[in-house]
Subunit: 313 residues, 2 copies
């Protein structure tokens, strides 16, 4: 792996950028190859069902992107749009129908759900074999036990990008800032599976800067813009920034920014993911990979070779 | 909490011993009070089914102890002894019957199983509502997600002993040595739930002594006798030693020893668990607590107050 690799590019300063957009395109291609192989074997393409309740504009953009990329990877995407007034029982009934639908391989419920609906109840109703977001208790348990299962997309994307930059991760010290069930905890478990030493830090951690400075790989997943300062980063470290924060500019416009002080980090880290264009694009890429994996497993087939090495589970 | 507390006692040197035997007796009493309360409400005591396959002498001792302590806590213990020649299908059929038996609240399969039987398949067949060892994927997933569930007994015992010695654990740095699915990983997640900063180290960790020296609470769970040397321990730290290793003495007899160099650690740590008599007795105590919890949950009752505060999940 060198700077010439398509997913790494010089930043013009010390750190080399890990290009999540290019990495995601590579994964999309791997998913497409896997989907083609399964289509030929099964006589039908893998199929992802996307459930969107309500009219949240950001959710609509996300769902549109997921549908577009699923279809351009040669898979079927079925969108289920429900009004914000949908009842929990109606939503659960839909999940139940998708669970038993033989041609649905993956089920994704776009979060957040409208007020009055309990996301945990809805997500936990998904058949673990179709849990392409990796958010059910069964998927989390399989991750702890090292058993086969579908891994959460964003954390799997973090491990993938770290591997692209550094190769084998054995023995590296990963410090994860943030202990959410969507990112922090599963990221810690996935890096542990990659034979890393893992420290999990959070708002109650004492002397967080000192702990962060020990990291060979620093995962910033606290959702606090610019929280990780220059002196939190060990010279030569790899910074994977999971934060996507919208902050106001002085001129009244807004910009996306990560959890790290990016400009300062460029002078200290060896590798860093930009925001946007770092971890962000990996989430949908891993969703496509998971859909291919779920389709193969449900059919009792081997995971297609193009997808097997992508580290999603 | 002072040195006068029944579960702490002076060692005659610097470290104060955390008396796991006394702590376990206290938990057994809490389980007994909870079992009595449930017996009065339900008209029957909580019931633990213990499955023992084969003739392993150590397993027979463990099972005898579990049965004895279950019964002296006022609960019913039903022992299922099977020959070493039992088939996997017969064992799974027994688990299936116990799963649907309405008066069985907890199911424990004594490990290791005889050759030819797959422990993971058998354990994963247990109804998560009756998984008093906390070893199913569903229980592990609930632990990750912070959802209600039954927590693994030995790790829950470690947290309990650390709380007895130190009180509130918020912000303490816990270093767990060993990443097994029985102890290391669930211990890390349980200490995280207690608002600790958690580092998980293992055989691939670089400079393990330096990481261990950062620990406010050091969990030694690698299964390597005397691995944790004096200079791995920060002065004033709490050492929780999960190792139970049988080592040969010069005179040909054998002794139980932990993963820490106990004599040396006494001069450095503030609190330490002896081996035997530290973590060991906690495992069965937490099993009894879990059986009471499982019984209450299955009946749709509140967890008895005597048991609710014991930190098992």
């Amino acid at each position: 792996m060198t700077v010439q690799d398509p997913i790494l590019r010089p930043s013009g300063r010390r750190a080399v950028l890990i290009d999540g957009k290019a990495a995601a395109e590579g994964l999309d291609q791997a998913a497409r190859a896997g989907a083609l192989e399964l289509t030929q074997t099964l006589g039908r393409p893998p199929c992802l069902a996307v459930v969107l309740a309500g009219e949240d504009p950001a959710s609509q953009v996300y769902v549109r992107n997921k549908v577009r990329r699923t279809e351009s990877a040669g898979m079927i995407s079925v969108e289920h749009r429900l009004p914000a007034s949908v009842s929990q029982d109606e939503l659960l009934a839909l999940i139940g129908r998708l669970n038993i639908d033989p041609v649905v391989d993956g089920i994704l419920v776009q979060l957040p759900l409208p007020a009055g609906l309990d996301a945990q109840t809805v997500v936990q109703a998904i058949d673990p074999a179709k849990d392409v977001d990796g958010l059910t208790a069964a998927s989390a348990g399989a991750l702890v036990l090292g058993a086969p299962g579908l891994r959460p997309c964003t954390p799997a994307g973090c491990v993938y990008l770290a591997r692209q930059a550094l190769g084998d991760l054995t023995g590296r010290h990963v410090v994860v800032i943030g202990r959410s069930i969507l990112v922090g905890k599963p990221a810690a478990l996935l890096f542990l599976d990659a034979d890393c030493t893992v420290s999990l830090a959070h708002s109650r951690t004492r002397d967080l800067p000192a702990l962060a400075r020990q990291a060979d790989i620093l995962i910033a997943a606290a959702g606090r813009p610019g929280m990780v300062k220059a002196d939190w980063i060990r010279p030569g470290a790899t910074v994977i920034d999971v934060g996507i924060n919208r902050v106001a500019r002085p001129d009244g416009s807004s910009a996306l920014t990560g959890d790290a002080d990016y400009e300062a980090a460029l002078d200290i880290a060896d590798f860093i993911t930009p925001v946007p264009g770092g971890v962000g694009p990996m989430t949908i890429a891993m969703l496509l990979i998971n859909t291919v994996r779920a389709c193969a497993r449900r059919a009792g087939l081997a995971i297609p070779a193009s997808v097997a090495g992508t580290g999603a589970g």
